[in-house]
Assembly symmetry: C3
Homo-oligomer: 241 residues x 3
């Protein structure tokens, strides 16, 4: 299985061309579109989401993750992260940082394989997809990359006390691990104090609340409402416990 | 084949996580995304659409249908509907009612299988998808569910004389079966009387008309226009014959 | 592999029903959604995109392309284009014209096969998809169609000096082949003169520029901005070299 996580959106020719390449180079391999509206040009927020969204994948799934860090940036390297046996192909811009941190064992590789043709603006199609396809069909990693030291994002917080994604319903997903936070805790966001609840139906219509979402993160929602609109919040809005 | 019908939208991590679970538990089974923008939290309208959209599926397709009836609602049961041999996995909130009614033979089962981990807010991923995957790969239904009496939505009309979906072009799909309605009939919607036509090109540009759509429902459209905007209508707007 | 290119959008029941038919009639064949937001009812612009987007497909891929030319138009025929061995199934409305022109060898066929049931408004599902599925599973083309002379769009320009698509980020894809245009050339669009650059990061933030995009077309973008909004442009806006 190759699972895709990008900020390309589902509009336009981008995801389709990725699938065309993967379908040609890795025929018969199952493709899963995890998400194509990851926070755009925001690898820090996207990293938090990525680390969570991969949970239901099989252990041998290969993850192809591309969130743009500035096309043509000379500091960008193409890497493979091995995290507890699972492989992630993507840019060296911090996107894979949360996955690496939450893994017991992680190793980094720099991709050395070069495609016959590399466009300036679509490394996802020309470089990352062919590498993912080769790995998924059995090419040894050593033939495509060489091992390198861990990434350079040691100053990034492991949790993000801010909104990292707003879903289609206006629910505000934060980068806070919900695991240790009791439902009696109160959050402050955009000047509002928000109490916790276990489910939507546990609060009156129109009420804001926070809950442990299905990815294990703190999420702020409004029963039968749109929390993002009601609070005027978006990706990056700080949250305080 | 497992066919998906939900109100999750294609944005965000929701459909991707469903595919991840299905790809892991039912490898090699064809997944079809029938629709992921079913009328949200509106199982009555969604039920009409579902009964129609499944027509081109093979007889042995399994349908996984989730439209939210209020997460955490204690009255919600997870069910399997067998309708003329085809199986539908979904919530017991009326979503499967139209399918059951239009079937010659229908049987209802309550799902008794429980996942090792069940989140509060994503039963689609944690409960419905694994059940669908197990059924699609040959687990006998008896091991996952026990038979129950028919559903509780006897007061729902079989046809809905209202708009049940607005497509991306502003066409208004109603819940009225077009089969028996002659093209000379006139509809009234939002104070406008609308004549019938067989095709878009049969009416002048800008003209509103109704026609037998490709799912066998009455649909109101505007040639080269957006009927929803022109009429100020949406899901739930009543239609009179 | 069957690759789909349509103007249906990913909303609603349309693409899902296409997949249902293809999954039933061509089980096991890989389906690739190249793009479902091709320029709507604009086969001239869509034709330029189609000719480019198919590049990464394997040689034996079959392309199913539907962009609406006016439902019910009596002049519309269903055709198959063979272009350098690759097959395209679609309407005879110019959509396949650019592919035919850029091929060394092209042959046209009119589809004679008729489905048992043909709706007035969804030939994609009822006619084009079953033909594509039959071809992909080995039915000889001669059983479905007969050869005809080339298409009727000889007056269409091979390149389009105008915007043919606006992506989700506001980048303006034109129908101009970038191959022969030096990066020092200047474009004029909506009264603005735009210089060329190789990558986004090569220009200051907020600056408009044009570049060779990953499909080999001239594209106008704004670094960290939305060129479509800044320029007030859309599909059809003329571009001058």
């Amino acid at each position: 299985m190759i699972a895709l996580f990008t900020d390309f959106t589902l509009n336009g020719p981008y995801v389709g061309q990725m699938h065309a390449v993967l379908g040609q180079l890795a025929p018969g391999v199952c493709l899963v579109d995890l998400m194509h509206d990851a926070p755009r040009c925001d690898p820090r927020a996207a990293a938090c989401l990525l680390a969570r969204i991969v949970a239901p994948l099989p252990d041998d799934a290969l993850v192809l993750a591309v969130v743009d860090p500035g096309v043509g940036d000379p500091g960008r390297r193409a890497v493979v992260l091995e995290a507890d046996g699972r492989r992630f192909v993507g840019p060296d811009n911090g996107l894979l940082e949360s996955v690496a941190r939450t893994a017991k064992l992680s190793r980094w590789w720099q991709i050395t394989w070069q495609p016959p043709q590399l466009s300036d603006s679509f490394h996802g199609r020309d470089l990352f997809a062919p590498v993912a396809a080769q790995l998924a069909t059995g090419t040894p990693l050593e033939q495509l990359a060489h091992m390198i030291p861990a990434g350079h994002f040691a100053d990034w917080p492991t949790e993000l006390a801010e909104v990292i994604y707003v879903d289609a319903f206006g629910n505000l997903i934060t980068g806070l691990d919900a695991g240790d936070i009791d439902v009696s805790a109160r959050l402050v966001i955009a000047g509002n104090t928000v109490a916790g609840a276990r489910t939507f139906s546990a609060v009156p219509e129109g009420e804001l609340f926070w809950y442990h979402n299905s990815m294990g993160l703190v999420e702020i929602a409004q029963n039968r409402g749109n929390a993002a609109l009601s609070l005027g919040c978006g990706i990056g809005t700080p949250v305080e416990l």
